[in-house]
Symmetry: C2
Subunit: 161 residues, 2 copies
């Protein structure tokens, strides 16, 4: 249907042009702490740029209306931005290599999957399916303008099954 955006499963391979998937499944891992803990190692490297630093924040997102209208994108040209869900609810990742509607991709992430957008990658702000969901966010603090926003021709996402 014209104007509707298809929802794809989030996989490392599909997301590779945009950044990294943060998940234990399939990741390089090894035992630590006398075998009591498994380390799924270096899923992503924070990129705060040469003059920035990586900060840790919590984002508390609320569910949007269904269908969701995607009419804008933003990006952070100076640093990466990672989102890791703190509760096990699926959520949506909308991103694009170019800031126009035909380039949009929509991935459904599980509650065990986070993402890190590479610096400069267009994406929609957080879209959650639960009434409320918290994320640990690792992004850049530093000098300069690290936020660009564009309006795009609207697309819709229907989240009801």
């Amino acid at each position: 249907m014209t104007g509707m955006l298809a929802i794809e499963p989030l996989t490392e391979r599909a997301f590779a042009p945009f950044g990294r998937v943060l998940q234990a499944q399939g990741a390089h891992h090894f035992p630590i702490n006398q075998g009591t803990t498994t380390r799924f190692h270096a899923l992503a490297v924070a990129d705060p740029g040469a003059d920035g630093r990586a900060i840790l924040s919590i984002f508390r997102a609320t569910r949007c209306a269904d269908p969701i209208e995607i009419a804008m994108l933003e990006r952070h040209p100076l640093g990466s931005q990672a989102f890791m869900p703190l509760s096990a609810h699926d959520w949506l990742v909308v991103t694009a290599l170019q800031p126009h509607a035909p380039a949009l991709r929509c991935f459904r992430a599980t509650g065990a999957q986070g993402v890190q957008y590479d610096a400069g990658v267009w994406h929609h702000p957080l879209l959650v399916l639960a009434p409320e969901q918290d994320f640990l966010v690792v992004d850049r603090q530093g000098p300069g303008d690290n936020l660009e926003m564009v309006r795009i021709e609207p697309r819709r996402i229907r989240i009801a099954d």
Copy 2:
């Protein structure tokens, strides 16, 4: 009782000598994303040192025996290390300003509380109360030896209520 370690609640004030508590409650916050999300901002700054970089990993920890014996501490002299629980179970934070038993502190964190240890702060490896619990970990990757471990006179923690 000699040899037993008291469990304290985890508060920002009590933990301040060791690093930062990562929690939304009480944190500086503001609305973003057209009001659909609240940002609890810059709860911690990752410190990977001058020649390191901050990496994101997942640690999957398994529950220890009860009582827990605390007989060693470790520290990372070159960078900070942050732990954020990815499921809402209480867990234990054991830390010390000096690497000997009388300096030990044990904090019970809720599932909505993470911590970031400052570089060089002694702490025990992850101690979880659920059978298994995942954490997002932000720590340092880079040259040099970033792990020191010491054995200490044992102390015990009784976790059954």
